[in-house]
């Protein structure tokens, strides 16, 4: 917990957790919370009472994370849950995803907003099929930092061999990860607390930092794209008041790059070019705006701009096309993806229609092989498609910019979110 004033310099790290069923993920989160004093007395008391009621031998830290009645009754985690803790250095947002049912869908969701993925491996078992799957999904969603936690080191006598084995196994397939730029391996015991918050005396051979130190210090500042200026217009502000009679401001969140006062900008799709006359954050005028700030931009000339349009720099424009190629994860259990199927696409602040022109292949998330024969997408399936939109979409590849390269597909009848996609 932070003390007075320190909080001005605190930044934020969003991470997602992945592990197989018995890898000790709940115990690790429980340990992080416990050792950073983020569990409160009344929470601990409530968990103690519930554990007793259920007849659990020890305090069941998983109860801290399983919030819904059905989860408590069945001892499972149903949905992504978001948890928060802070040290004087950083605020952390954990997207905690369940290890079994609807796994892929939930991990994709959790990973979409995360900078780092924490992947748990049981030291006794080493890298298993699920480890590869988790790494593949983290990479697919553009996560650049993976921390592999080799857990339960206490059960292998804290021997370096177990750690070395995982390192070797991981490097065999790490070359296939496209986005991950930093892989960190931390041997630990969540149950005993080794290398979670405090450095462990049981593993003198390990020269790296404990997990919390890594989470506090990992540098994610350069993950965002500060080069390609992109400003999807969200809402047009027109006060219609006497004081601000002629005010016309474009509200939105910078999706990439930097916009400065006086910069020349081009509005898409109209293609008109003008200059930025004012940038505002609330009532305050500021000199420049960058990702992920929410600001209001005023322009020198009056040009027709509305929600779904995009402000960019004249000499650095995004791709513009109606024919798109993407990797997707299918979410729906009741609807199948069909060639020729029509859906709504939501991309930045624009909503348009989309028609599937080709189902290219499906990926077997266990073997990571492409399958061009089986093209039936069911819930949790990942693969590649081509589609055509009813109007041009202004985009960057997902690899270059997560904000202008991502989209969701929506069922036009039930309004359900059917799929998440990453443009290529």
């Amino acid at each position: 917990m932070s003390t007075e004033k320190d909080y001005i310099n605190m930044d934020m790290l969003r991470f997602t957790t992945a592990g197989s069923v018995d890898d000790g993920k709940s115990t690790l989160i429980g340990r992080l919370f416990h050792d950073t004093k983020s569990i409160f007395e009344d929470q601990l008391e409530a968990i103690e009472q519930s554990s007793k009621k259920r007849g659990d031998e020890n305090i069941n830290l998983a109860l801290l994370t399983d919030g819904l009645r059905a989860e408590r009754e069945q001892g499972i985690t149903i949905d992504v849950a978001y948890r928060y803790f802070a040290t004087p250095k950083r605020k952390f947002i954990i997207a905690d995803t369940p290890g079994h049912i609807q796994y892929t869908r939930n991990m994709v969701t959790g990973a979409s907003t995360a900078n780092l993925a924490l992947i748990l491996v049981d030291a006794r078992n080493g890298v298993v099929e699920q480890t590869r799957r988790h790494s593949f999904i983290a990479d697919l969603l553009g996560i650049k930092h993976i921390a592999v936690c080799i857990n339960k080191m206490d059960l292998v006598n804290y021997e370096e061999d177990a750690y070395e084995k995982v390192l070797r196994q991981f490097s065999e397939f790490a070359s296939r990860l496209e986005n991950v730029s930093e892989l960190t391996f931390i041997p630990l015991s969540a149950l005993k607390g080794d290398n979670v918050v405090e450095r462990s005396d049981n593993m003198p051979w390990y020269k790296g930092a404990p997990l919390l130190y890594h989470l506090e210090n990992v540098y994610v500042g350069s993950d965002a794209n500060h080069v390609d200026a992109r400003f999807p217009v969200q809402w047009v502000i027109r006060p219609h008041s006497d004081r601000h009679h002629d005010f016309r401001g474009f509200a939105g969140r910078v999706a990439g790059g930097v916009f400065k006062l006086g910069d020349e900008i081009t509005a898409l799709p109209s293609g008109f070019t003008t200059k930025i006359s004012k940038i505002m954050l609330g009532e305050k005028e500021i000199e420049e705006a960058f990702f992920p700030q929410s600001v209001t931009i005023q322009l020198e000339d009056e040009i027709d701009i509305s929600r779904g349009d995009m402000l960019v720099k004249p000499n650095n424009q995004p791709n513009s096309s109606q024919d798109l190629d993407a990797r997707i994860c299918w979410f729906s259990g009741s609807k199948k993806l069909t060639q020729g199927g029509k859906y709504l696409i939501k991309h930045t602040t624009k909503t348009a229609q989309a028609m599937i022109s080709e189902i290219t292949y499906k990926v077997d998330v266990n073997s990571l092989r492409k399958n061009e024969e089986d093209k039936e997408f069911n819930m949790n399936d990942i693969g590649r498609i081509k589609f055509r939109t009813s109007e041009p979409v202004f985009y960057d590849t997902y690899r270059r910019n997560r904000n202008t390269g991502s989209f969701i597909l929506i069922d036009p009848f039930t309004h359900q979110t059917l799929a998440a996609g990453m443009l290529r």
């Binding site: 801290l64 408590r72 978001y82 994709v108 969701t109 809402w235 939501k346 929506i410």
Partner: protein
């Protein structure tokens, strides 16, 4: 090169403003649920920032149990006046008079659960298709599973097992006839973030949040303030204490904490040292393990 990084409060602010603008853009008749508590005050402040220099483009909605601290109502009226927004009030008493809600009886009777009825009736009457709430995921374990854009069926119910996945910052506000949304711009804020932001932005909060002297009594482990709605039973003792409130809700179930924290700096120091969650003093959450989930399924905030 300049360091293009935001601190945690600036990031949370940018996210909340984005969500508030999405609400205005995707819905026709949104309302902002305003209780006069700190979370709804922060949300309203952010809404003013999101749409400046224009006015906030939706009305404030207060579901009034009639069991208020008078400070809350005075603050609410001043705030609404300052921001120049419309205020819609739904009275729990009206629901009781109409016979759509029945007053609880017994020693711990509270109108807290009845708010759901009045809220749903108000949504219906005013034709709201989205209601912005100040709920935060760190408040309570059922809330940890809540979405920014939370879909409600035509009965106002939340179905936690069948929520729409929410990715990146693409919020799907699509809905069928009679359905609506609850939207939570402060989802990723913690209690500490709220206090720190209030301090940095110099946001005025009701005096109830700061230490003051007050007559209280102890009931089921909570310190309740003596008001028109709470009086001592035979075996209860009224005493004077220096207290403040960490949350402000219905006066019949909002507990006070003993405290000398009289300004935001002191409150922040106190909260960071506290070993009890803010809702630990809320009698409404103590009713059962899934009290919040059950109320939310029925349409609670």
């Amino acid at each position: 090169m300049r360091n293009y990084n935001l601190n945690h409060l600036e990031q949370l602010e940018a996210e909340a403003i984005f969500v508030l603008r999405e609400t205005a853009a995707q819905f026709e008749h949104p309302g902002l649920l305003f209780s006069g508590g700190k979370d709804s005050i922060i949300m309203a402040y952010l809404a003013a920032k999101a749409f400046a220099p224009a006015k906030i483009p939706f009305p404030f909605v207060h579901v009034d149990t009639g069991h208020n601290f008078h400070e809350t109502i005075a603050f609410r009226d001043k705030f609404v006046e300052e921001y120049g927004v419309n205020l819609v009030v739904g009275l729990v008493q009206d629901s009781i008079d109409r016979g759509t809600a029945t007053e609880e009886t017994g020693p711990n009777a509270s109108r807290n659960a009845l708010q759901s009825v009045t809220l749903l009736e108000t949504i219906d009457r005013e034709n709201f298709d989205a209601c912005l709430g100040g709920g935060r995921r760190d408040e309570e374990k059922a809330r940890a599973k809540e979405r920014f854009f939370s879909h409600r069926d035509s009965f106002g119910q939340w179905d936690p097992k069948n929520q729409r996945p929410e990715l990146w910052n693409l919020f799907n506000g699509g809905k069928g006839q009679g359905e609506n949304f609850r939207i939570f711009p402060l989802s990723n804020w913690t209690e500490m973030d709220v206090w720190q932001y209030a301090k940095i932005e110099e946001i005025e909060l009701p005096s109830l949040y700061f230490a003051h002297e007050r007559d209280v009594l102890e009931r089921n482990g909570s310190l309740l303030a003596i008001t028109d709605f709470v009086s001592a039973n035979e075996n209860e003792e009224v005493r004077k204490e220096t207290v403040r409130f960490r949350t402000i809700g219905d006066a019949t179930c909002t507990g006070a904490v003993i405290s000398n924290a009289s300004n935001l700096d002191e409150v922040i120091a106190e909260v960071s040292a506290s070993r009890i969650t803010e809702r630990g003093s809320r009698a409404d959450d103590k009713r059962s393990e899934a009290a919040m989930e059950d109320r939310k399924k029925q349409g609670y905030f």
